[in-house]
């Protein structure tokens, strides 16, 4: 069990704050991109990158590193902010998001940016990719862990359930899926567009170990990560209840912030709230 004390919580809280500010800044400068779902995942990503995962930014190809796959690839800004803060690349790169020639593509590209583990963006594919990584770890008898972050709307893709079946079938206890359950997708509430609920029951029926948490409570996130790490025999799904746009009052729970970037005025307002 990894320690969860005030010190650790202080670190991840600070990092989550920095990640949120960078998300707003990079999207504001890019002028397009996905704000709401990046902010809803910021706490989980901060806990993964600054508490949980074995990583070495100086050796991004280190074979025994833990792997993070952003299956909800449109939340690329949250990943880029974490990678920059971790030291995988200079922070100035963040200012190039979505620009021609930038290593920071609109959706993550492993061939263009150090620290990115998979090419994602087409929903449902990242979780299968993560299953493949977990299988590779088993074949090679390596003890790294694989983390996949999915959106709740993403669960509407049938491929997710093919992957869920395979992960349970092959008893991949080195795999953890985090579901950013913010309840909104582009066209509206997931409950109205195409409900994937009951999410926990579905993963449980496929044979996964299930944990449900508040996805903004760092202690709960860390406890879930600790619990999943010691759970043997099946993969773990963490259903994280989150708020889309978390941290910026005027964005919270508002579907119009799914695929919208803040203008200058909104950016300043958001940064003032996050300061």
């Amino acid at each position: 069990m990894r320690r969860i004390g005030e010190e650790e919580l202080a670190v991840t809280s600070e990092k989550a704050g920095i990640i949120r500010q960078e998300i707003i800044k990079m999207l504001g400068e890019a002028g397009s991109g996905h704000t709401g779902g990046s902010l809803s995942a910021a706490d989980m990503v901060a806990c993964l990158y600054f508490w949980e995962m074995k990583l070495d930014p100086q050796k991004p190809d280190w074979q025994d590193r833990d792997r993070f796959v952003l299956s909800k690839g449109h939340a690329a800004p949250v990943l880029y902010a974490a990678l920059a803060e971790k030291g995988f690349f200079p922070r100035e790169y963040l200012r190039t998001l979505r620009k021609l020639g930038s290593p920071l593509q609109g959706h993550p590209d492993m061939r263009k940016l150090a620290g990115v583990e998979a090419c994602t963006g087409s929903l449902g594919q990242g979780i299968s990719w993560a299953v493949g990584m977990a299988l590779a770890a088993r074949i090679d008898q390596r003890d790294y862990r694989v983390y996949a972050l999915l959106g709740d709307g993403e669960l509407e893709e049938g491929m997710v359930w093919e992957a869920a079946m395979a992960a349970a079938h092959y008893r991949l206890d080195n795999l953890l899926a985090l579901v950013d359950n913010n309840g909104l997708q582009i066209d509206g509430k997931i409950a109205e567009v195409m409900s994937p609920e009951p999410i926990a029951d579905k993963f449980a029926a496929f044979g996964w170990n299930i944990l449900e948490i508040d996805g903004h409570d760092h202690r709960q996130i860390m406890e879930a990560l600790n619990s999943a790490r010691s759970f043997k025999g099946s993969p773990t799904a963490v259903i994280a209840h989150t708020i889309k746009g978390k941290g910026c009052s005027f964005m919270e729970n508002r579907v119009e912030w799914h695929g919208t970037a803040p203008n200058r005025e909104e950016m300043e307002k958001a940064l003032a709230e996050l300061a």
Binding site: M110, C119, G124
Partner: protein
């Protein structure tokens, strides 16, 4: 003439490769007995993963395994590997430039009795349109084995198109094939038959009949569809002045289209494309179907005679 299905040669070559290289992993989608990956599965169970009837997830898993250093051979029928899982192949494998070799069997109408749902006539077009993708269509057991060894060494994604029925051996056992190279099997100045897959042996038979009439044709195995051997195409166009393309695939987007693209740009000569004429397949025996869709030996001979008049 010795006959062997290219899928059988694939299964055997995988066994050879498995013994040589530890980093090979083989995936299948519940068709291992048909795709012949079952032999590898028996020999190396720890390196064989059955994805079940879930081709999309199979391609995603293949990407994940390859991103961790594995050389992945992923098999299913051509229709499912390239059709059902197209976007996974495109986004997870080809865009990421990963070492996944999609080795699809049961391509074309010679699947036979199972009928159109299982007969892929679009797969070459689909795969060659994807950036980073290498496309190889072997014509016999020898070229299949050679292609597989080449693809293992090749860094990047590839599509290998294999067939169900036994086909005659057309290459010497000493074949030295390299990705991007066509192989000339017969030389003649009057016309060039540019074929791939099962149509290579048909072209050789047609060439015999034409030779008896005093018409000397070249037969070229265009097994590397992408990269395409443009030098060979230009050379044959210049030497013989007309090309007849032959494929067990739609005339839209396959070998014939590839050759026309090259010929139009570099050395325009009359070309006739023989293939499936924008139609779906149907049930029947492989030979019956080849005849029905105009790909029988006599039909090739007839097309060749007509094309000669256009020169």
């Amino acid at each position: 003439m010795k006959k062997q299905a290219t899928r059988d040669a694939y299964g055997q070559a995988l066994l050879e490769l498995g013994a040589l290289y530890d980093n090979i992993v083989v995936l299948d989608a519940d068709l291992s007995k048909s795709t012949k990956t079952v032999e590898f599965a028996r020999a190396y169970p720890e390196r064989f993963i059955n994805a079940g009837i879930a081709e999309q997830n199979m391609m995603g898993m293949a990407a994940g395994l390859a991103s961790c250093g594995k050389v992945v051979f992923a098999s299913s029928f051509a229709i499912f590997a390239t059709g059902r899982a197209f976007e996974q192949v495109r986004n997870s494998i080809a865009y990421a430039r990963l070492n996944v070799k999609i080795c699809a069997t049961h391509a074309g109408i010679t699947v036979g009795e199972d009928g159109s749902s299982h007969q892929s006539v679009e797969d070459i077009a689909l795969m060659r349109s994807v950036p980073n993708m290498t496309v190889i269509v072997p014509s016999d057991g020898i070229s299949t084995r050679q292609a597989l060894f080449q693809l293992y060494q090749h860094d990047g994604p590839a599509y290998l198109r294999l067939g169900r029925p036994a086909v005659p051996q057309v290459h010497d056992p000493g074949l030295d094939f390299a990705i991007g190279q066509a192989v000339e099997l017969r030389r003649g100045k009057d016309l060039s038959l540019m074929a791939c897959g099962i149509m290579v042996s048909k072209a050789l038979q047609a060439a015999e009949i034409l030779a008896a009439e005093g018409i000397e044709v070249s037969v070229v195995d265009m097994l590397s569809i992408k990269p395409l051997d443009k030098e060979m195409i230009i050379r044959k166009a210049r030497e013989s002045g007309a090309l007849l393309t032959l494929e067990e695939h739609s005339i839209i987007g396959g070998l014939g289209s590839s050759i026309c693209e090259a010929v139009c740009e570099y050395c325009p000569v009359p070309v006739t494309c023989l293939g499936i004429n924008d139609l779906f397949g149907q049930s029947g025996s492989p030979e019956e179907l080849l005849q029905y869709y105009g790909l029988g030996v006599e039909q090739i001979v007839e097309k060749a005679r007509k094309l000669l008049k256009k020169k």
